[in-house]
């Protein structure tokens, strides 16, 4: 698998990571080598094999259908949640304008 800089820039854009031309040129062979290495998985005959979804058999539980069933993960903690916000105003996270 060879990866060109155009592909690197597309992946970076999908991943929302800004990269420069130099980054792309450096990353192309690096990612190419890693992808080439993982491509050996193609050799494995997986006909009829189900992809794994859970390593240990487990059933998904339902929580009680009530508000704040677990106070730690429930609501009513807006101010606490916002203590780490890089920028917050009037109880909202603020971001650059998205509508012209």
């Amino acid at each position: 698998m060879s990866v060109d800089t155009r592909t690197v820039k597309k992946i970076a854009s999908l991943a929302r990571i800004a990269i420069t031309e130099e980054d792309a040129a450096r990353l192309a062979p690096e990612l190419g080598n890693i992808l080439h290495w993982i491509e050996q998985l193609g050799e494995v005959d997986t006909a009829g094999v189900e992809p794994m979804t859970a390593v240990i058999p487990n059933t998904l539980r339902l929580r009680d259908d009530v508000i704040d069933a677990d106070p730690l993960t429930g609501g009513g903690i807006r101010d606490k949640l916002m203590t780490n916000a890089p920028q917050a105003e009037h109880g909202f996270f603020t971001v650059p304008k998205v509508i012209e």
Binding site: I17, A18, W37, I38, N84
Partner: protein, 494 residues
Amino acid sequence: MTDLTDLGIAAIRDGVRAGDFSAREVATAFNARVAGAKTLNAFLVETPEHALAAADEADRARAAGEAPKPLAGVPIGMKDLFCTNGVATTAASEILAGFVPPYESTVSQNLWDAGAGMLGKLNMDQFAMGSSNETSAFGNVISPWRRKDGGNAPLAPGGSSGGSSAAVAARLCPGATGTDTGGSIRQPAAFTGISGIKPTYGRCSRWGTIAFASSLDQAGPMARDVRDCAIMLEAMAGFDAKDATSLQLDVPRWEARLSSDLKGKRVGIPKEYRVDGMPAEIETLWQQGVDWLRDAGAEIVEVSLPHTRYALPAYYIIAPAEASSNLARYDGVRYGLRDLPEGAGLQDMYAATRADGFGAEVKRRIMIGTYVLSAGFYDAYYTQAQKVRTLIARDFEQAWERCDVLLTPTAPSAAFALGEKSADPIAMYLNDVFTVPSSLAGLPAMSVPGGLDGAGLPLGLQIIGKPLDEQGVLNAGLAIEERAGFAARPEGWW
């Protein structure tokens, strides 16, 4: 008077209970030890007041005649992947610079509830991605071990739990938490001559633990010996409704049931783990481990895990894929770093923030993950890897028909020098060749020190067990520990 920092978890617990020394004396001794070891860069945050407060509570409870808590008087180190209420938590990444969690992870809360105190937050590979602790945004951890060649080259403490391994090996704390996604407890334990166990996936809650690859991440203890690991794991594990993959099972009394008598047990030796280029010293130690377990009463059988060689490539699809999804949350909006270039829009802010905040290895893995999940490649990479994962788990299931535990080396080499492998990602990934298969299958596995190589560096042996059979793993580990008599420790040069 013994130096209290020479004591392990069991000895501290028992000594505090017996009144041989106070919990405050223990916390004070370890706080001083931590403060004097800055050269190792094992701690990102020191919290001496937390350790002292827990110690004072232990001393008060004892004086009041209350029943002692399981870890009363024991101060520990906390890997910086666990969110700690009011104490900065960064996963060793710039993108979480300044983040102070307003909540406590379940695993750390369980430890505090058991009476433990916190000495500080431990350095690690950034977002737990690395095998040498060189991807931390806050500098390398330096292993307390040195080669006996007079060169004093700084060595890697392993990773990703490298601050944990270095701190326990240097006697900065009697035990520390680690997390293991593909070997991040076991490989650093092996590199530093300590013990560490990754329990069955689902034993320890992942709630409040910063996510790397959710189907693989498991917390576990790192400590000086097998008993200490059993004690600490009992406190860390347990059902938690806040983690959908938490196992709804009681925590076994692993410590009380420790036994190194392996009569009637069968130990499997997987032939595929004899990899090309394995150093002779590791081969020899492995054989020594076989002899030790036979001496403990076990029957030795050769087994085959035919898909072993595909475990690493499957892991390097699955883990980055999950990471690319998990790390999408770091966007500069709700917490952590924000980089808003002049005049930039929202998308530019995301991209600039993530470019600035993530380290090179984290970006590399996010991009690999993004690629293998992208339209047109998903089935060829991700679905195929998940199918191979099924085959790897099946290999183990078939092995369990013939044996109770597996014995392998933990890592393909002793600790390497910092910088030695950082230029080649794949060479670094190969460090996890023996630990990744059991991670993919969710199995309990531990590393115990077996001996030293020619350069005087520790080598570890790994025991892998059946799902939920931590006891079998700990017992085999204890049998090795008793026979290996590993007493080497790094000289206090720092």
